[in-house]
Symmetry: C2
Subunit: 473 residues, 2 copies
């Protein structure tokens, strides 16, 4: 788009038109009154954040210092130390770690798959988190393609000795890519169990992505004690489509899968937190959070380095304006969201919670993209909040608070009655990167990341100042 000299005059004309409309609308609704308080606040946050976008600088340092932050790893420990040091540098109060014990699964050096036969072809694979290894020489077996757990279980004796290939794609027609993910991820979580239940020897799962490339996407899977534990790996979309096409031509096609992952004894780790202590009700807490662990592929810039640095930045923004909220705002970097949720559970159960009253918990774990609003998750029978904040949030395009999922790490708080808010964002790109080598700093835009921090700062500050009633009808 080029420049046009008449644009400004036109814009002014329409701005007037719009303001007239908005003001009439405000009077009609009777809920725009809060704009008088919130609108200057959002402008102050924009001024304090958008010129230098500090969240991005924090993210750059985090992924440089500790790119492969899977629970129990050396990088996870480095990341915990870095978050603590950053909170101290930002002059947060009561900066400390709370110890937890985490699963310690390691990928191993080798993970390969190959179509065997006269036209061998390498498939890009990666072990799914928690998977057992194959024997050293790998597992070579015929592959059966299915599109659901039910279809796998219906194989009966036909599944015996086979590698079961789960190839149902994410639904590309859904605007909310998280919905598409939730509709397909049962194959990853339950594929190994379903495969083993019919005598299958391994599970191969189409990556949970819609990006048509050669990059496999990992993620957690599960076993049950009553069924044999068979290895499970994700295959890239190009690999999955190739494998599917080859199976159609050669129904008895064989693949050799080699995985060297293993599970070590649980390891010590920690959540990290720091806060702005409330001036009137210091024991009433608003949590703003993300998770500091990530998969060992990529750098975890999207999932969930973004959420961690946004929590730090949200508190920095509030402090930078010289605000002294009545209630405590606490930034929490949770550990072990990806393969155990031990951080979220540990936080909710920690004896330090005694004497604290959690007003609300906010989490950003959908990537550092342009914010769109918040999902609000309340204990059953509690009414969802009225949109008193929406005019202010709408100014940064985050103008809705809708019922929905809040966040894995804050779910243990929601379970004990704390309202949870999950930052919702433009989700079109998220699964291009999620749990894969594609999840790198370079895919994060500094402005989009900062806007999420500002949305959290606004919501967090208003909750801290006015309590939950500030967002209630």
């Amino acid at each position: 788009m080029g420049s046009n000299p008449r644009l400004r005059a036109l814009l002014l004309f329409f701005l007037g038109l719009f303001l007239t409309f908005a003001s009439v609308h405000a009077r009609a609704q009777g809920t725009f009154g809060d704009s008088a308080t919130y609108n200057p606040l959002i402008r102050s946050f924009l001024n304090a954040g958008m010129w230098n976008t500090p969240a991005y600088d924090l993210l750059k340092r985090l992924v440089h210092i500790a790119p492969h932050r899977l629970s129990g790893s050396r990088d996870a420990a480095r990341a915990v130390a870095w978050v603590q040091q950053s909170m101290l540098s930002l002059k947060f109060e009561k900066v400390h770690q709370e110890s937890i014990t985490v699963p310690h699964w390691v990928r191993g050096k080798i993970e390969t798959a190959r179509i065997l036969g006269r036209h061998p072809y390498p498939l890009e694979v990666c072990a799914l988190g928690k998977s057992v290894a194959t024997p050293a020489q790998g597992i070579a077996a015929e592959v059966v393609e299915v599109h659901s757990l039910a279809e796998a279980k219906a194989l009966g004796t036909k599944g015996k000795g086979k590698i079961i290939f789960f190839n149902r794609p994410m639904d590309a027609t859904l605007m909310d890519t998280f919905e598409a993910y939730e509709n397909s991820v049962d194959q990853r979580g339950g594929g190994a169990i379903a495969a083993a239940s019919v005598g299958g020897v391994a599970a191969l799962v189409r990556s949970m992505t819609m990006r048509n490339d050669r990059v496999p996407h990992t993620g957690v899977m599960g076993y049950v004690d009553s069924i044999a534990k068979v290895p499970a790996a994700a295959v890239s979309l190009v690999g999955a489509d190739t494998l599917s096409a080859r199976i159609r031509r050669s129904p008895h096609l064989r693949v050799r899968l080699v995985l060297t992952c293993r599970t070590l004894p649980d390891a010590p780790s920690a959540n990290v937190m720091g806060q702005i202590t409330g001036s009137e009700f210091p024991n009433e807490i608003i949590v703003i959070s993300g998770h500091v662990d990530c998969w060992d592929k990529g750098e975890g810039a999207v999932d969930d380095g973004s959420g961690v640095v946004q929590a730090l930045e949200a508190l920095r923004l509030i402090k930078s304006l010289g605000l002294h909220p009545k209630r405590t705002i606490r930034a929490v970097a949770f550990m072990n969201e990806e393969n155990g949720s031990r951080g979220g559970i540990g936080y909710a159960r920690n004896p330090a919670r005694t004497g604290e009253r959690h007003i609300a918990a906010i989490e950003s774990d959908r990537g550092g993209f342009t914010p769109r609003g918040f999902f609000y998750q309340v204990p059953q029978n509690t009414p969802p909040p009225a949109p008193r904040l929406l005019p202010a949030l709408g100014q940064i395009s985050a103008g809705y608070i809708r019922p929905g999922f809040s966040g894995v790490d804050i779910l243990p708080l929601v379970d004990i009655g704390v309202p949870g808010f999950g930052l919702d964002v433009d989700s079109q790109r998220y699964f291009d990167y999620h749990h894969s080598d594609n999840d790198r700093l370079s895919v994060i835009n500094p402005r989009e990341l900062e806007l999420g921090a500002i949305a959290e700062a606004l919501l967090g500050y208003i909750l801290a100042e006015g309590g939950l009633q500030s967002v209630s009808p």
Copy 2:
């Protein structure tokens, strides 16, 4: 974000809650009735577009065949031929070119700038479009930094013999980055005139971007006959900030600027168009458009390859559903938006318009990012449309139609009374790429691009079927 087995149950619960709310709301508003028509349509478009995202494949071919499509160039001619061929392949009707004559400015092989003195330093620059060249040995002069055209003009005799350096940044706190652009771009458009008016020998302009890198961003500038024509170049943000810091330390700092650009005689070129001819009112036209020319830096994938392929894809989508709209839907690839607007003007004035009645014109020229809504530009005193379409558009996150700028190419139509619609998108990343080497296919996400085409297909089809009253109160 990991997977959580309770998520689905929770989502279903909240979905129920939301549907109840939505249905009550629908009855209360009395405007959701259109959803009965439009909602299945948007779902059909999603099915027809999102699985394979064909707009992205078109864009890939366009930027591969003709990356440097500045008006008058070889690539511009190739692009015109490619668009025509693509329209024929897609079985559009009445595919043809309409000839226009375009400015033919060429960059030349050398464009450099260098801080002189004991600590020389190279600045990344590029000539602004239409600029004259420097002498072959360049222009070496002292640099004066200003932050507005007014400040330059106020220099008086202090400007004589100087390179005037316009360094007012885009306002990073504005959510609408196009507003920030409009507030700063006068320096690029009018810098050379202001510089020459006080005896300056050249204009150096901070690039119109907020991305802090070493890439300069070009764009059109202007001269007036009454004032000397001095060369004008853009400098990268890293260069501009370095230059500014060096000037503070050394007020008499000198820079040598070398540009070898020149203006050749006007060249023949063309707009390209093809259509789905209306079944009842073939002479009533809805235009869906973008511009096929782009700056010679980068590949013009964002500005405005996206808009061109979205216009093609919008018509393909409509045809793929077997729809036969009552009015004609015409895809137009305009030429010369960037440095002359000859395409838009030529289209509106072409004798072929006689006997045609344009119902509306839609343009996408804000980059192929996630759609957010439409700006609606009407002749003065015409009321803006009521939001009867919003529920359907809202399903693809494009749920507003607001007064605003429609598009440079369709402005000549708006000027003669045709309502214009400009696709609005998430604009946070746009100026990272705009008019620079950063504008490449790799920054476009196939899903985001396709969603824009779907928004245009929906709006275009409904206008074609129901006329302008279909979006009126």
